[in-house]
Amino acid sequence: MGEGMTAPLDRRAVVAALLEGRDRLLVVSGLGSPSYDVMAAGDHDGNYYLWAAMGSAAMVGFGLACAQRARPVLVITGDGEALMGLGALATIGAKRPTNLTIVVLDNGVYGETGMQKSHSSYGLRLERVAAACGFARAERIDDMAGVAALRGRLERGEGLAFAAIDIRADAPPRVLPPRDGVHIKNRFRAALGFSPI
């Protein structure tokens, strides 16, 4: 959560707004609450939910964006998950895929483990890290107008983008996505026209 913020946003409302009316968007969600948020917005064949491998969400999205250059790819994760894979921002910033957006739902705490403070609460600004790593657009969003503007850009693939969105540190009821990684992999690939081996 940003310093001086007065009204951090509701995470479910943010994710629902980002995914509303999605068209060609492919989505990768980081483990924990972001996966529940994406599921709560509606299960979709174009979603890949991570349940483990903390720190990996951005790189899964990057690999997908490199293989599907004509499709916009959105990674939705949390500040703790992003912090565990901070080097990924450097790796992605070096290649600058134009069809990748990384959204960090930033509440400054580890929601899954008891709301312990993350580095965001001690002043780290993830969007500044992303900017330093070469992201063409790196911003912090603290209102729904900003979320709506980001939603408008998501499908257009206008360049590598990063957004940290200030959300409230709360834990809405869990909405669990499928946990069978092979099932969601095959479902995702089938939606892109690929068969199982």
Binding site: A53, S56, K185, R189
Partner: protein
């Protein structure tokens, strides 16, 4: 890093064979943390307009990258040094749970004739660590074994949605000269 001159024309043949085998298996993404033993493959990948070569900050990034690339329908391979295997352990759960093709080519340190003892603990643990996490492993110590073993590892990764690693022994790579004589 092993300091070996592997500029164009100077790389041992097996190093270029690594790249040729990856190409034959329709690999489109080569993701790597550099090592001298991979210098030829990295140089060839970076020069190949059909190949997406991605330098990583740490090896586990490569596992998640290749998971994403396979979701998007394309094959890749991860090149790294044995010390990086230790960095990969938790992320290997992604391969176990999602079962995507994961092909790793690992140059050994802490192996034969290692000068730096700080390399030895991870070098000794490399193969058991991979096997603990369910990765199939093979090891090449002679140049003529690299091509067939890599072909086999790639076949089992790509035909079986499996995790395969080929370890390239330090005797194959060559003894690192630390002090000029």
């Amino acid at each position: 890093m092993n300091a070996v001159d592997v500029g164009p024309g100077n790389a041992p043949a097996w190093q270029e064979q690594v790249y040729a085998v990856l190409k034959r298996h329709a690999v489109r993404h080569i993701v790597y943390v550099p090592d001298a033993g991979h210098a030829a493959a990295i140089r060839l990948a970076e020069a190949d307009p059909q190949m997406n070569a991605v330098a990583l900050t740490t090896e586990e990034e490569g596992i998640s990258f290749l998971a994403g690339a396979w979701l998007g329908g394309e094959r890749g391979a991860l090149l790294m040094q044995s010390s990086g295997v230790g960095n990969c352990i938790n992320t290997l759960a992604l391969q176990s749970c999602a079962r995507f093709p994961l092909l790793m080519v690992v140059t050994m340190r802490g192996d034969w004739a290692e000068f730096n003892p700080w390399q030895n603990p991870m070098g000794r643990a490399t193969r058991p660590a991979l096997e603990l996490m369910g990765v199939m492993t093979w090891r090449a110590d002679a140049p003529q074994d690299v091509e067939p073993l890599l072909h086999g590892a790639a076949s089992m990764a790509f035909n079986g949605d499996g995790a395969s690693a080929l370890l390239l022994g330090q005797r194959l790579i060559g003894e690192k000269q630390w002090v000029k004589e």
